[in-house]
């Protein structure tokens, strides 16, 4: 009883001295005006259920790269917009999203995917953790130059097949290997999608860790 009575005021005192978590993470790394902006945007984002960490990371990145505060501010607002797009797209699909999957969707938007693409992936019925990985991989494929149609087709097929997320994480390496053989990113993704669909028709792979079948060689342009 005595300990509890003594702990409460001391804990409150410690919390007051610590300040907000955002300011604590940015202290000494970012100019004060950027700290204030991140706190403002971050508080508003948190009330909307959006993740705050991408904002903190972007502010630290801008400061580390020597970017002027006004450009950092513009980048921060862009990040909030991308996270908002992702959250709305997930909501359209009826996904009860957490901050991780929204952050993954925000990255996918940064990489070039649209809200409709995110909704399409979310409607595959994949679990939220699998969808999170799927969005990250789809964003990576977009950064590799895979067009949206082939990208979403491939990742949707993979998510519907219920394969382990470890296999999903191998997709960029497989696409890269096909590109190294001389096909376009679109052809590589389309070939992998056909292979994944064929495998899904045959049933699940016999055991986890089995290497995926090599996709049929797409026709050369």
């Amino acid at each position: 009883m005595i300990i509890a009575l003594l702990t409460l005021p001391l804990s409150l005192l410690g919390m007051q001295q610590q300040g907000s978590p955002i300011a604590a993470r940015l202290a000494g790394r970012v100019p004060p005006d950027v700290v204030a902006l991140v706190e403002e945007l971050g508080t508003a984002a948190a009330t909307r259920g959006l993740p705050v960490d991408p904002l903190i990371q972007k502010a630290i990145e801008g400061s580390a790269k020597g970017v002027p505060s006004d450009r950092v501010a513009a980048a921060l607002r862009l990040v909030v917009a991308q996270l908002g797009t992702a959250a709305a797209a997930l909501q359209d699909a009826g996904v009860v999203s957490d901050t991780l999957v929204i952050a993954a969707g925000g990255f996918a938007v940064t990489a070039g995917l649209s809200g409709h693409d995110i909704t399409a992936l979310a409607r595959t019925g994949a679990s939220v953790p699998a969808l999170t990985v799927g969005l990250r991989v789809a964003g990576t494929l977009a950064a590799m130059g895979v067009p949206s149609a082939e990208n979403i087709g491939l990742i949707s097929t993979k998510l519907r097949s219920g394969q382990p997320t470890d296999d999903l994480l191998l997709v960029p390496a497989h696409v890269q290997a096909e590109i190294a053989r001389g096909v376009t990113p679109a052809q590589a993704a389309a070939g992998l999608e056909r292979a994944a669909a064929a495998q899904a028709r045959r049933g699940p792979p016999p055991s986890r860790g089995t290497p995926p079948p090599h996709p049929p060689t797409p026709p050369h342009p």
């Binding site: 009883m1 005595i2 300990i3 003594l6 702990t7 001391l10 804990s11 410690g14 790394r29 990371q57 972007k58 630290i60 990145e61 801008g62 400061s63 580390a64 790269k65 970017v67 450009r71 950092v72 513009a74 980048a75 862009l78 990040v79 993954a104 990255f107 940064t110 990489a111 990250r136 991989v137 964003g139 990576t140 950064a143 590799m144 994480l169 960029p172």
Partner: protein
């Protein structure tokens, strides 16, 4: 029960202290009657079912004690504080605060070992900055291997998504030529690593 009082010698007989032969002749008839009465006593155990049934019925009929009522019922609480106990109590409270503020709140993510490589023959220094080291351009130096200008670093990173760039000679931010990249929002490109 009659009000009849036996002779003290007869009482001795009933107590087993003497036998009927020890009694004087004028008391033997009284002694025989006393022994007869004693033998007629029923020593079988007495059953009183009605009593136990009444007790159990009363217990069953007793209302269950409400936990909520026990919580909200006002009680008199007397708190006595011994001054010499305050010092250890404060020490324990401080230790609890330190423990609660430093205890990990989430399970660690799975880790993946990654090797980064950049060919930069003319560079004097190459470092790695990204989301995994708070974009600290001095935290993760690459090591030059031989005269070929190949710079490498091997890191163990948590599973997830990371963005990064190489920093050449402390000023030039260079995306990884072997990895996909996205716009960083500042007019440059960040490399992407999905684990």
């Amino acid at each position: 029960m009659s009000e009849h009082e036996f002779h003290p010698s007869v009482k001795q007989l009933l107590d087993g202290d003497i036998t009927i032969a020890d009694l004087p002749p004028e008391l033997r008839a009284e002694g025989d009657e006393a022994l007869r009465l004693l033998a007629a006593v029923d020593r079988s155990p007495v059953q009183l079912p009605a009593v136990s049934r009444r007790v159990m019925r009363a217990v069953a009929a007793r209302p269950a004690r409400s936990v909520w009522r026990g919580v909200v019922k006002p009680r008199e609480l007397r708190l006595r504080i011994r001054p010499w106990l305050l010092a250890p109590a404060l020490a324990i409270a401080a230790a609890l605060i330190v423990f609660l503020r430093t205890a990990p709140t989430a399970a660690p993510a799975s880790l993946v070992t990654v090797r980064f490589m950049l060919v930069a023959p003319d560079a004097r220094e190459v470092t790695l900055a990204g989301t995994f080291n708070q974009w600290d351009a001095h935290a993760t130096p690459l090591i030059r291997s031989g005269p070929t200008g190949v710079w490498t670093a091997t890191l163990t990173l948590p599973a997830g998504q990371h963005q990064y760039a190489f920093v050449v000679d402390g000023v030039r931010w260079v995306p990884d030529p072997g990895a996909p990249a996205v716009n960083d929002g500042f007019g440059r490109r960040n490399s992407v690593l999905t684990l």
